[in-house]
């Protein structure tokens, strides 16, 4: 540094800083560790309780969610089943009407045809009696299957009648 005054000033500044750094360390008049430890322990206790409480809330929410999803899935399955059942019942009614129309005509059955018709009508009456016994608040898959079988039997029965009617030229 060129200027003597500035050099002196800088030296004084450095001395001042050195005096600052040389100031003695100070000690806290009281031991604060017991207070810190107590605060830390109660904070940890509070945190673990909170964690536990939140864990419980999360578990309960998960159960509710799973039940909700299961209910929704079940409702969806029931709706699909109900739709299928309605369609089968409607189809069954149509086939009943068709059978009534075609069976009114007088015709001669061969032994084999008559056997087939008797067998189908037996199956139909068994199915109808099983269906009559079913009282269900919600449609089961078993009930849907019964109606499906009824439609299949009716289809076959109508098929036999229609084929015969065509054959005899009605």
């Amino acid at each position: 540094m060129e200027c003597a005054a500035c050099r002196t000033e800088l030296e004084r500044l450095e001395q001042r800083v050195a005096r600052l750094k040389a100031l003695p360390a100070q000690r806290a008049p009281r031991d604060r560790w017991p207070v810190v430890r107590e605060a830390m322990v109660s904070e940890r206790r509070r945190t673990s309780w909170l964690r536990l409480a939140w864990g419980g809330v999360a578990a309960a929410a998960a159960v509710v969610l799973v039940m909700g999803v299961q209910n929704a899935q079940q409702r969806q399955v029931l709706a699909v089943r109900e739709q299928a059942l309605n369609a089968l019942m409607q189809r069954s009614q149509q086939l009943d009407a068709t059978l009534k129309d075609v069976s009114d005509a007088r015709r001669v059955w061969s032994g084999r045809e008559a056997g087939a018709v008797v067998q189908l009508e037996d199956s139909l009456s068994v199915l109808d009696s099983r269906l009559a016994r079913r009282v269900e608040r919600q449609p089961s898959q078993d009930l849907v299957n019964l109606w499906k079988q009824r439609v299949q039997v009716m289809d076959a029965l109508v098929g036999v009648h229609v084929t015969r009617a065509s054959y005899v030229g009605l």
């Binding site: 000033e9 001042r16 600052l20 750094k21 904070e43």
Partner: protein, 186 residues
């Protein structure tokens, strides 16, 4: 090494690791190793011993809370981390502005044309530092002793770099006067 660091006893890596895992005995070890450093720093920045004690307590609560997240095992890094927390807590107290600065009163007297009673008064360094405003004292201590840059101080105080520089310059002018040093004319 200045006296303010004399109270730091060495903690080994294992003790730091145990403290990081939340072991209460290891945490007490950290407290015992650094309480002097933290209290000295807080006492230099805060006006009262009670405030410095509160800073000591708040600093170690924060240390206990966050030491698990502290990345580093070397004691030097731990010292720097703890001192940073302590400085931040002490500056928070300064920002709260609990006291009216004596230096402001002194400036008001000068502005009113009354002679300042402390002109050419020789004080020791402790007295002179105590007479500075809380903000000026914090800037002097952090810059001259703790080695903070003006950017660090500005960041920690939420002020500008020029604020930190002007506080330091004014504080040194006052310290020089109160310590009875002559002004070298350029």
């Amino acid at each position: 090494m200045p006296d303010v660091y004399a109270s730091v006893t060495t903690l080994d890596d294992l003790a730091i690791q145990r403290a990081k895992s939340g072991d209460p005995n290891a945490l007490e070890g950290v407290f015992r190793a650094y309480e002097g450093t933290v209290y000295s720093l807080a006492r230099r920045i805060c006006r009262t011993a009670e405030d410095a004690e509160d800073v000591l307590q708040e600093t170690f609560l924060e240390v206990c809370r966050s030491i698990g997240k502290f990345r580093g095992t070397a004691p030097g890094m731990l010292t720097a981390w703890i001192k940073k927390i302590a400085a931040s807590k002490a500056l928070m107290r300064v920002r709260q502005g609990k006291y009216r600065d004596t230096d402001e009163l002194h400036d008001e007297e000068m502005a009113a044309g009354r002679p300042a009673p402390d002109v050419a008064l020789r004080m020791d360094m402790e007295q002179a530092m105590a007479r500075l405003t809380d903000t000026a004292r914090a800037v002097v201590w952090l810059h001259d002793v703790e080695g903070y840059t003006h950017e660090d101080i500005a960041d920690a105080m939420g002020k500008t770099v020029s604020f930190s520089k002007s506080q330091l310059a004014r504080a040194h002018t006052r310290l020089r006067r109160w310590l009875g040093e002559e002004v070298a004319a350029c």
